[in-house]
């Protein structure tokens, strides 16, 4: 019982933090990371509803199947979003990395 509550609250907080970051920040890679964290929070809540403790019977397999499908779909959506943001940055003249000055970011990331 306490396990379900702990992980449900954790999933809720993860969803809230991801939504906040998705609204506030402007870097596309960070937006994709925020969407991934949000989806992880939803999966955590779904699995936490299906949990039963160790000696008290089996867990519910239907949310497991849904979460399994959701993980695969989220990975493919992440790949599509990454390649789309790369193409947007290469075809448009503007630089999307607006969070810091561009030269610093390019220097830091391969330091």
């Amino acid at each position: 019982m306490i396990t379900t509550q702990i992980y449900s609250i954790t999933g809720l907080l993860l969803f809230g933090m991801g939504l906040f970051t998705l609204i506030v920040h402007s870097h596309p890679l960070r937006k994709i990371l925020a969407v991934n964290v949000m989806s992880t929070g939803v999966f955590l809540i779904l699995i936490a509803t299906a949990y039963t403790p160790l000696g008290q019977g089996e867990v519910d397999p239907v949310p497991h199947a849904m979460v399994l499908t959701g993980i695969v779909v989220s990975v493919s959506v992440t790949a599509l979003a990454l390649i789309l943001s790369c193409r947007v940055q290469e075809t448009s003249n503007r630089d999307l990395l607006r969070e810091k000055p561009v030269a610093e970011t390019a220097k830091e990331c391969t330091r």
Binding site: L54, C109, T110, R111
Partner: protein
């Protein structure tokens, strides 16, 4: 006596939590990636301990997948991110 295995897994989880500090203030990028690899090894150990602590032998297979795939991120990092502009000073066959 299975609580002892879970207790050891707890200590290893504390170890992971201490390693996050090195990711947060690592001076170079390789320090951060190295710590991610430490997390892979620690995760394998936690899974092995939990397979006894939770009486579930399926976790050994998950530990096998962990050990195989935690290196993939490091390899990609070396080949794609950490290498400079493709011009090498030495001619090692990489």
């Amino acid at each position: 006596m299975n609580w002892l295995h879970t207790f050891f897994a707890l200590i290893l989880l504390l170890t992971i939590g201490a390693g996050v500090i090195r990711i947060l203030k690592g001076p170079t990028a390789a320090d951060r990636m190295m710590t991610a690899q430490l997390f892979g090894t620690c995760g394998v150990a936690i899974l092995l301990l939990l397979s006894t602590g939770m009486n579930n032998l399926v976790l050994l297979d998950i530990a096998l997948v962990f050990a195989l795939l935690a290196t993939l991120a490091t390899l990609t990092f070396i080949r794609r991110t950490w290498q400079g502009s493709g011009k090498r000073k030495h001619d090692y066959p990489l």
